[in-house]
Symmetry: C2
């Protein structure tokens, strides 16, 4: 049982160490791809309370441990890592086949030609297609 990594992370972010939080972090590290509430719930076999889980997800996001993603599905998903900062936004790729959501760094930014009067602050791009595994 390798709690060291999660232990460190929680400590560094000033978050109390609890069983669920350790499990959550391990899960995010292990899975790589964006996770919905349902995904997580299913993965953590131990009966986990819904509100507690949601509260931890928002706490983690607030602490910069994970970031939330809004794909077409209508449900929020979460992925490990800091939220993309201004000017360094990354795109998300949603596989139409397996529904996996990938974070894609290093894509060329969008060339925007916004009408006058409009001020763009954040750009989120979602790419739908078929992933390398399908």
């Amino acid at each position: 049982m390798d709690n060291q990594q999660s232990e460190q992370l929680l400590q560094r972010k000033g978050l109390k160490k609890t069983k669920l939080r350790h499990a959550l972090i391990q899960h995010f590290i292990k899975t790589q791809h964006a996770q919905s509430y349902a995904d997580i719930k299913q993965a953590l076999m131990e009966a986990t309370d819904k509100s507690t889980l949601y509260r931890n997800l928002t706490a983690f996001e607030h602490a910069g441990l994970i970031h939330s993603i809004n794909d077409y599905s209508g449900v929020t998903k979460y992925a490990f890592g800091e939220a993309p900062i201004q000017g360094n936004e990354h795109a998300h790729f949603v596989c139409e086949c397996c529904e996996t959501v990938y974070c894609m760094d290093g894509l060329a930014p969008l060339q925007l030609d916004i009408p006058k009067g409009f001020r763009a602050k954040r750009v989120q791009t979602i790419i739908r297609g078929i992933c390398a595994d399908c």
Copy 2:
């Protein structure tokens, strides 16, 4: 009462003419911006059944009368006009202040550099910022 436009549209799409459908089309023509279920419900003062409204929205979308938009809010919104066709996708601008969703045509397309193995089919871009009215 100018039903002519909606009359024509429904006829052309092979949809039966009902009170609600006329009202819906008028509403979409009048409002310009993307409408959520709640927006529409509120606008059509007459007590409208939820499932009927949703069924009509999907029918309209299927017929190409309106298209659906998925912004960050988690709720689907609908806007008048055909869905953007392949290669001609338009971006959506969400105002952080008034939450209005604008369809933005004629923006320069995204320059994509997708990792090998991945095949992109649809790209949706959502721009958050402050609109001209705010």
